[in-house]
């Protein structure tokens, strides 16, 4: 099982509603996976800010103190904006890598969920409705976002084992399915210097795509390469700084339905997830073809 939702907005006037629309979509998919839930949300991208989402199990963590210490080490202004167990650190774009390194060395008990310029990831164990409320997702705006509710099969039910997985700047992936060659792929990626936070098969898929994009592939090319190199069942929805992509394995057992109109492109594991979107009655609704890459980009849309 597992439930996936995704929403890529074309109409700017819908941007303030992104969190609310995505939350409703995800909560509708609760029956597909009650173990953990998560959302990646791509907010305003001014290019003037770097942001890192971090998470601490210790409820007493003083994120302001963490930000101050990281700022000292990275020699940059770092501020923290707390949301429940998570916090978004904001710093100058050029300082993101230095803050990441400082975080890893200085605060090993704190987990990095995402980094980049406009991505924020919030994920925890529990039902989608609880997770969405804890982080106040409904009040968040943005350009595109992805949500996942998990029925765990391949690895433990933990915060880090929740989706989305992020393995590159402003990149994230959610997965419905299970990969059969993830162990071998993981060793190959580890040899190239990529480090993994979990034993999860989906994290390997995320790292695989990040590796391809680091080598110069665009999202579409990376997803096409995944069709040759990944073995197993998958429906992936992938987010990047400006884009949103979908691919299903050639057998296509894992469900997927998409909708597009002038205002948005939407993805759901089931039509139920899309039924509440504005104007869905007249949108083009279709089932993505097996082994076929779909992607949309705000950059392309603007060009």
């Amino acid at each position: 099982m597992c439930g996936i939702v995704g929403l890529f907005l074309k109409d700017r006037s819908l941007q303030p509603e992104l969190g609310s629309l995505l939350s409703d979509m995800l909560v509708t998919m609760t029956e597909r996976g009650p173990d953990s839930a998560g959302i990646a949300i791509y907010g305003a991208d001014s290019g003037a800010e770097g942001r890192l989402t971090i998470q601490a199990d210790d409820r007493g963590t003083d994120f302001d103190a963490v930000a101050a210490r990281l700022g000292e080490i990275a020699q940059a202004r770092v501020t923290a904006h707390r949301r429940d167990s998570h916090a978004v650190l904001v710093c100058p774009p050029a300082a993101v890598d230095a803050v990441r390194e400082a975080l890893e060395r200085t605060f090993p008990e704190i987990t990095l969920m995402s980094f980049g310029s406009n991505i924020e990831i919030y994920k925890e164990t529990g039902l989608p409705s609880d997770v969405v409320d804890r982080f106040g997702i409904r009040s968040m705006g943005g350009t595109h976002g992805i949500g996942h509710t998990r029925m765990a099969t391949e690895s433990a039910v933990t915060t880090c084992g929740a989706h989305p997985f992020s393995t590159g700047a402003d990149e994230c992936l959610v997965h419905n399915g299970s990969l059969s060659n993830h162990n071998r792929l993981r060793s190959g990626l580890e040899r190239e210097g990529i480090r993994f936070a979990t034993d999860n098969d989906s994290e390997v898929a995320a790292a695989y795509l990040s590796g391809k994009m680091r080598d110069g592939a665009d999202l579409g090319e990376a997803l096409n390469a995944a069709l040759s190199d990944l073995d197993g069942f998958f429906t992936f929805v992938v987010g990047t700084r400006s884009g949103f992509g979908v691919v299903r394995d050639p057998i296509a057992c894992k469900p997927a339905v998409m909708a597009e109109n002038d205002r948005y492109v939407a993805f759901g594991s089931e039509y139920r997830a899309l039924a509440g979107l504005p104007g869905i009655e007249d949108a083009r609704v279709w089932e993505p073809e097996p082994a076929t890459v779909y992607f949309w980009s705000h950059r392309h849309a603007a060009a």
Partner: protein, 225 residues
């Protein structure tokens, strides 16, 4: 006609009302389905049910006698294991439409995706658009008619079901071959197209079926299918 609103009436109550139509009401309309699963399943009376919108998984599953008309699209497993009656889908159908069906007619006006008619056992399926890969896998008997194209591995490990495709077939599955279209097949196809309201001429289709090399076909049993 009686109208049931899924925005107000729980799914189980809607299904219960349709399954045991004690009122003698023969015509029903369901509004606000919003992709609900298992809608209008297990019907066993000669009633007409119109669904205004798109339904989810297993719509009209196990149908007997009833006519279910969906004015929208359906999720996986529409008319699964249908015994008799008619199911019409105005939009598209997702995976395994009409799977394991024993009888009745399933007409899909849009496209069906993968595994359409998998293990069909006597149902007639007419798809006005295309069908996806692995359709009619292990299909035992009944007829699958496709006005558009078929995906990969059509009729893999097929038994005695008859497949009629007007468009292209991306590939045939194991033991599935193109067969001669004889007069009795043209007659059969004309009847199916007519029942499904499909505007196509039987002469435009090709017939596919089992080469009978993969399973132990005994000619003495030919009339059983």
């Amino acid at each position: 006609m009686r109208r049931l609103d899924l925005a107000e009436t729980p799914l189980r109550e809607v299904n219960a009302a349709l399954q045991v139509p004690v009122s003698g009401e023969t015509s029903w309309e369901i509004v606000n389905p919003r992709g609900a699963h298992a809608l209008a399943v297990g019907l066993d009376a000669p009633i007409d049910v119109g669904i205004r919108g798109s339904a989810g998984y297993y719509c009209a599953g196990m149908n007997k006698q009833a006519t279910v008309h969906v004015h929208g699209s359906v999720g996986p497993g529409v008319a699964e294991n249908m015994m008799s009656g008619t199911v019409i889908v105005e939009g598209d159908a997702s995976q395994y439409a009409g799977a394991t069906g024993h009888g009745g007619l399933l007409a899909i006006k849009g496209n069906a995706s993968s595994r359409c008619g998998v293990s069909m056992k006597g149902i007639d399926i007419v798809v006005h658009g295309d069908i996806g890969h692995s359709s009619a896998f292990m299909a035992q008997t009944g007829n699958l008619v496709v006005l558009g194209d078929a995906g990969d591995a059509l009729g893999d490990s097929i038994y005695e079901a008859r497949l009629f495709v007007r468009g292209s077939v991306r590939s045939l599955g194991a033991d599935c071959v193109q067969k001669e279209m004889r007069p009795e097949h043209l007659e059969l196809l004309a009847r199916l197209l007519d029942r499904a309201g499909a505007d196509a001429r039987p002469e435009e289709f090709k017939r596919y079926g089992s080469a009978r090399r993969l399973y132990n076909f005994d000619v003495d049993n030919a009339t059983s299918y």
